[in-house]
Amino acid sequence: MSEVDLLIVGAGPAGMAAAVTARQNGLDVLVIDDQPAPGGQIWRSVETVAATKRGALLGEAYAAGQASAAAFRASGAVYEPGSQLWQIEPGFRAFVTRDRQARVIKARAVILATGAQERPAPFPGWTLPGVLTVGAAQILLKNAGEIPEKPVWIAGSGPLPLLYMTQLLKAGGRVAGYLDTTPKGRLMAALPHLPGALGAMGDLLKGLGWKAALKRAGVPVVKHVAEIEAVGTDKVEQLRYRTANGREAIVSAEVVLVHEGVVPSIHPPLALGCKVEWSDVQACYVPVLDSWGESSQDYVFVAGDGAGIAGAKAAELRGHIAALRAAVKLGRLGEGAADERAAPLRSSLGRELALRPFLDTLFAPRPQVFAPPDETIVCRCEEVSAQEIRDLVKLGRPGPNQVKAFTRAGMGPCQGRQCGYTITHILAQAENRPPGEVGFYRVRPPLKPVTLGELASLDQQEPVA
């Protein structure tokens, strides 16, 4: 059994930054990540791509990842890419599979830097081949230099679709149209938060720049799209949409990319029993953390977008801050020194976070994201429809775990990552309760599938007790 001071889960901006700071303070650090190379989703394949032509079209924010990855590589942290964490027990014992070998890693402290995922936004037909998330398409561009063959339909809200379309156009791709799902009135609602956001003026201007580029390229934009549906038998053939004021259209489509914001990856903290709380403005759960990023479980930290969506710069800052506290708790750094070093990081973090209320309000998801039509498959793995969930409400006022037991929603390999919030919202509406009160699935191991053979070999190698 390997033993380390600090186990960092995830090698994106937060995990890499945490590793650098932890190493500077003499901690013995192991970083595991399920991706094959450092960078997380935002800087996917940055080491090999940043310096290429493809890197140039991805932009400066992407290129910035190269320096972070280099610092991480030089930090002296042990880095094990391609590792799947499937169970973590108090104490801590992390069960990890790499190259089909399972093993146990013992650690005194853990930083969960597992990032975010795109918010599941079910609509009829979203399981058809040809429907992907915008994030997925961007990963294909970064990792494989791959773009939709034909003019692509993009439906969603938030900065990512704008950024991706800009990159796609630069790469020579074509956009059939952008269905902007941001509801009417969001800008007015967000304006009061603008003064607070001015510290991050640069990012705001960038966003405006993307919009201008789309306009110049003549990308058709349909505003206030409220409902979408992908139509086809074995793959997407058509896209149907309807705007808030009732305008409907059916267009032919081969690829439809969707995006309704991102939510923290909460499965790892939930598996460790960390407290989470409902965030109304981001419409998701976020871990309850102190000012160092330490969770309700002693020695368990959450850094990066997993701590609440705030972007790559904030993620790096949170990674450094969490590592400082880990060094204090493991006796390698004085409290005073940690405070001193954290102070400038915290003020930078404050500036990054100042932009959030504006963005979160501007891009708050349309209500239809949480109220899919009855025929929509909400659990992709077990193919459970919204109707089946709603039918159950007649039997008392069931919670998500009862619904899981009765319908199998959330029982498949994705472990509720694609249906958890939908179930919470459907129950909240049907039972007239706030979503935060309805709760979430109990998270069960394994966090990622593991074979029985891998599990069995664990027992043979060493007593795990």
């Binding site: 169970q87 027990e89 014992r93 069960f95 146990v104 007649k394 039997l395 008392g396 006022r397 069931p398 919670g399 998500p400 775990n401 009862q402 037991a405 009765f406 199998r408 029982m411 498949g412 390999p413 472990q415 709760g439 109990r442 069960r444 191991p445 394994p446 599938p449 593991v450 074979t451 029985l452 053979g453 599990l455 069995a456 664990l458 027992d459 043979q460 795990v464 007790a465």
Partner: protein
């Protein structure tokens, strides 16, 4: 609704009794606890099982036998009432033996159990390796598999569908379910019993406490001491596979969906539903010794449930002497016994007294002085 009976506990035991009561023209209110409560009913393995049960307690073997006999009609009626398929099968079940020693031990154990009930024909047999391979030709057994015991009356069901159908069936029969209704207090109120939950109260002439591990505190309020403790069982379930194992076995069964359930541990771990990597490793190892090809199959979920254990492991059925009309029903075999709970037990509760055949299950068997 002014209920005739309040049932506390929406698990398989409480729901089966409530469903059975509703069939007997009782107005039933089922109070179910919180979504996050310990819920053995959601952690169940799904066997409807007779073989090996009832050592030193012939009444339990008898009760199990009568429930197993009632199951086919019980399922037919429940499915007809609700339209929910339970994937129930009663084609016999197996208990595998690794090594000749285990095989001989198993044989002796079943022989002893058989001798407890005079005059019954044997409904089980021992299958050696060759006979087992002949019975289940699609499975490649591990080299250590010596054979299995085969119980002709054993079967299996989807325990979650069963629970869901009992809830739906109760509602269909005019009963009501309240979720998130954790009971705080039970008091005598004139001729009736008053139950307080949340900010609400309800009074009924009859009350059934079937709240699993929560029953102890509730039963105390009606003057019954029911000793229960949690015993943790961990279960693994794999991804879906094409059908290969047509019969359920103790510790290994393929479900109607195609997943393979593997279980279960028996651990004294208190009120702790954590799962452990250690248990996952142990269960996996045992499984691969039985069927080596399962080694490359993915585990999709692991969970833990708490069995409701009494000191002798057998059920408790009792009516309170101090609070007539208040009954307690608890056990760790709620699935197998569901048919008898919905039939004979519900009938007795509706009539107001438990039959003599259930006397061996009264909690007073634990009241005797501890020192022998």
């Amino acid at each position: 609704m002014q209920p005739d009976v309040v049932v506390i506990g929406g698990g398989t035991v409480g729901a089966a009794i409530a469903y059975g009561l509703a069939a007997r023209r009782q107005r039933v209110l089922l109070l179910d606890g919180d979504d996050g409560d310990f819920r053995a009913a959601r952690a169940n393995f799904g066997l409807v099982w007779l073989q090996g049960k009832g050592m030193n307690m012939p009444a339990y073997q008898q009760l199990t036998r009568s429930s197993v006999a009632l199951w086919p009609d019980f399922v037919a009626e429940l499915t007809e009432t609700t339209g929910i398929g339970l994937t129930y099968e009663q084609n016999g079940g197996l208990a595998f033996c690794l090594g000749e020693d285990e095989f001989e031990k198993r044989k002796l154990q079943l022989q002893r159990l058989h001798n407890q009930l005079a005059g019954e024909d044997a409904d089980w047999e021992m299958l050696d390796r060759a006979a087992l391979s002949k019975l289940l030709p699609k499975v490649q057994w591990g080299p250590e598999v010596a054979g299995a015991s085969f119980g002709r009356l054993d079967g299996h069901v989807n325990p979650l569908k069963l629970l869901g159908a009992l809830h739906a069936g109760l509602v269909r029969r005019g009963g009501a379910i309240r979720s998130g209704a954790t009971v705080r207090e039970i008091r005598r109120d004139g001729e009736g019993l008053r139950v307080s939950f949340g900010n609400e109260q309800v009074t009924a002439p009859k009350l059934v406490i079937a709240a699993g591990l929560g029953s102890q505190a509730l039963a105390r309020q009606v003057g019954l001491d029911v000793p229960v403790r949690p015993q943790r069982g961990q279960i693994l379930v794999t991804e879906r596979l094409a059908p290969f194992l047509p019969l359920p076995a103790s510790g290994l069964r393929q479900t109607g969906e195609g997943t393979v359930m593997i279980g279960a541990t028996q651990e004294e771990a208190g009120y702790d539903v954590s799962t452990t990597g250690e248990a996952a490793a142990k269960l996996s190892r045992k499984t691969i010794r039985l069927v080596p090809a399962l080694a490359d199959v993915a585990l999709v979920r692991q969970w833990a449930g708490l069995r409701i254990m009494t000191p002798d492991s057998y059920p408790i059925y009792a009516q309170s002497p101090s609070h007539p009309g208040a009954f307690v029903a608890l056990c760790h075999s709620g699935v197998t016994l569901a048919a008898v709970h919905a039939a004979g037990l519900a009938e007795a509760i509706a009539a107001g007294s438990l039959p003599a055949s259930l006397d061996p299950f009264h909690q007073r068997r634990f009241d005797v002085p501890k020192a022998a």
